[in-house]
Amino acid sequence: MATPLVSIRDLRVSFHGLPALRGIDLDVAPGEAVGLVGESGCGKSVTWLAALGLLPPTATVTGSVRLGSQELLAAPPAVLDHIRGGRIAMIFQDPASALNPVKRVGVQVAEALRLHRGMQGATAAAEVLRLFDQVGIPDAKRRVHIYPHEMSGGQNQRVMIAMALAGQPELLVADEPTTALDATIQAQILDLLRRLQQETGMALVLISHDLGVVAEMCRRVCVMYAGRIVEEAPSDELFAHPRHPYTCGLLAALPDMVGPKRRLEAIPGGVPEPWNMPPGCAFAPRCRHSTAACDAAMPGFVPVGPEHAAACIHVQSAALVAA
């Protein structure tokens, strides 16, 4: 990989002593699209909230997050304010509540322009209109003056995206950007994100519980489970040849859109609670390949192909290679 834009090393987060992230290593190259998938509570959002210093003070964060040569975790607030929105922008799941209900949407976008590009007055207003056009908000001249509750969910997410683009970031972190939206609107927003990424050359981190969304949007995917990355691969490779038993389980649990109908293969049990983490591999209690060795230590990453690695000690065993 070229010099990474963002480099996360051994990132750990705990809330009141309970672990939420248990050592994340992740690089994001300039301009690339990386997907983070996993079920609720796996830490996919926490990773980026921690990286940007957006977690509440009750969180304990250790490790390292570097943007170029700048370490973010110990950075003073002024430096972080410059980076947030200016170099790394973030959009969230529920656009309706992510926008301030008492401020006009145009004003909220203009705020980012003022902070990161020093634009004021007419210049800022013109740029807001341009951004609204760029994200495909029709009738932009009128829409800049209305409030979030006067727009649909899809339009609000477009406003969020316009706001994120305002600072001309090098990386956009999209945290479940379409989960709260209807299917046809989701397709519109994903289309928009893909187009914007091409136009601007920014990198994209897409956080989602939906394997399909990530597969379509990202070249590379990381699968997370219980606060760790368990498998990392190019997305075509991951969906064609998953290697970690958890990834295999997730794909088997998902109903298909095509092909013969089959009984879903559910993963038994549930995600371990933070206060009850298994000593070794966190997936071992639900895994049909697990052995006593799985509980001995946290499994390290085993390379299984070009750019493909899985955190499982059995990943080379015959049963899993066949799967």
């Binding site: 046809t184 399909g212 859109m257």
Partner: protein, 320 residues
């Protein structure tokens, strides 16, 4: 012989726009008909505001249709609140998206499952206790969870508990409104499998309402696609999801992100779904439809049988 049938059902609400706007009628459900046979599942798909949940409530008898009729077991639905209605309601149960909201936070799981048995006077104390234990076993809840309160359960366990309660009165029809939407994929699969197993074992008919086409395909014997209160396409799920005929179904199916190559080229619709209170003329979908012609704005297309037997409401699809 169908268990539940809706015939030309409409549901009209009156809403105000703004604080002092004039009340105006909103057709949440507009002239829909379908029937569900025992042991079969009808999946209803569509986006928010399409009327799918209202349809579910009308089917349950919680809401009266403004127009049209609902037959359960061949008998018209009695008016809500009457003894006949209460008796019938025991045979119709609802499972929705939010199990925590559907449960009483102060009662244990066992007490909640027992409640409908008490209300309908089924069995004596010890019989009820046995029945609760059996129900919990059927939905795959460990016996030690019976004495827990809802907030002490995981999302999947809560949904199982709600299901056990719904099954307590041995319903003939289950209306499942987004029952797995709030669950993670691995848990979702557990609940879906359990639903299909229970249906097979008990011969329950199901109305399965969801925005998730993959899940609907998995559970349904028949599927209805709704747009703005009307059914636009109805028939065999395999046929509809493999080759949707209505332009809206086509867009909806193509919008589903899937790993790997897709079978249908993506159709990205422009604009938002319109407001039910401000319904476009003619075919409600025409302003967003990529293939609309002049006739689409003028007349509402009827739901007609197409070549392979499915029903489609589109001027551009040839009738059989």
């Amino acid at each position: 012989m169908s268990l539940l049938s809706l015939d030309g059902v409409s549901r009209v609400y009156s809403t105000r726009r703004g604080l002092f706007g004039r009340p105006m009628p909103v057709r949440a459900v507009d002239h829909i008909s379908f029937s569900v046979a025992p042991g079969r599942t009808l999946g209803i798909v569509g986006e928010s505001g399409c009327g799918k949940s209202t349809t579910g409530r009308v089917a349950l008898g919680i809401e009266r249709p403004s127009d049209g009729g609902v037959l359960f077991n061949g008998v018209p639905m009695p008016p809500p609140g009457t003894p006949a209605w209460r008796k019938m309601r025991a045979r119709l149960q609802l499972v929705n998206q939010d199990p925590l909201g559907a449960m009483d936070r102060r009662l244990t799981v066992a007490a909640q499952v027992e409640e409908p048995l008490e209300i309908h006077g089924i069995g004596d104390r010890s019989e009820r206790r046995d029945r609760v234990a059996a129900l919990l076993r059927d939905v795959g809840l460990r016996a030690d969870l019976a004495q827990r309160h809802p907030h002490e359960l995981s999302g999947g366990q809560r949904q199982r508990a709600v299901l056990a309660r719904a099954l307590a009165t041995d319903p003939a029809l289950l209306v499942a409104d987004e029952p797995v939407s709030a669950l993670d994929v691995s848990i979702q699969a557990q609940v879906i499998n359990m639903l299909t197993d229970l249906q097979e074992a008990r011969g329950i008919a199901m109305l399965f309402i969801s925005h998730d086409l993959k899940v609907v395909r998995q559970v349904s014997h028949e599927v209805a696609v709704m747009y703005l209160g009307r059914i636009v396409e109805q028939g065999d799920p395999e046929a509809i999801f493999a080759d949707p005929l209505h332009p809206y179904s086509r867009a909806l199916v193509s919008a589903i992100p899937v790993p790997g190559p897709r079978r249908i080229e993506r159709v990205v619709l422009t604009g938002d779904p319109p407001n039910p209170a401000d319904r476009p003329s003619g075919c409600a979908f025409h302003p967003r439809c990529p293939v609309a012609v002049a006739a689409c704005a003028a007349t509402v297309p009827d739901l007609r049988e197409a070549a392979d037997g499915r029903l489609v409401a589109c001027h551009l699809v040839d009738a059989a």
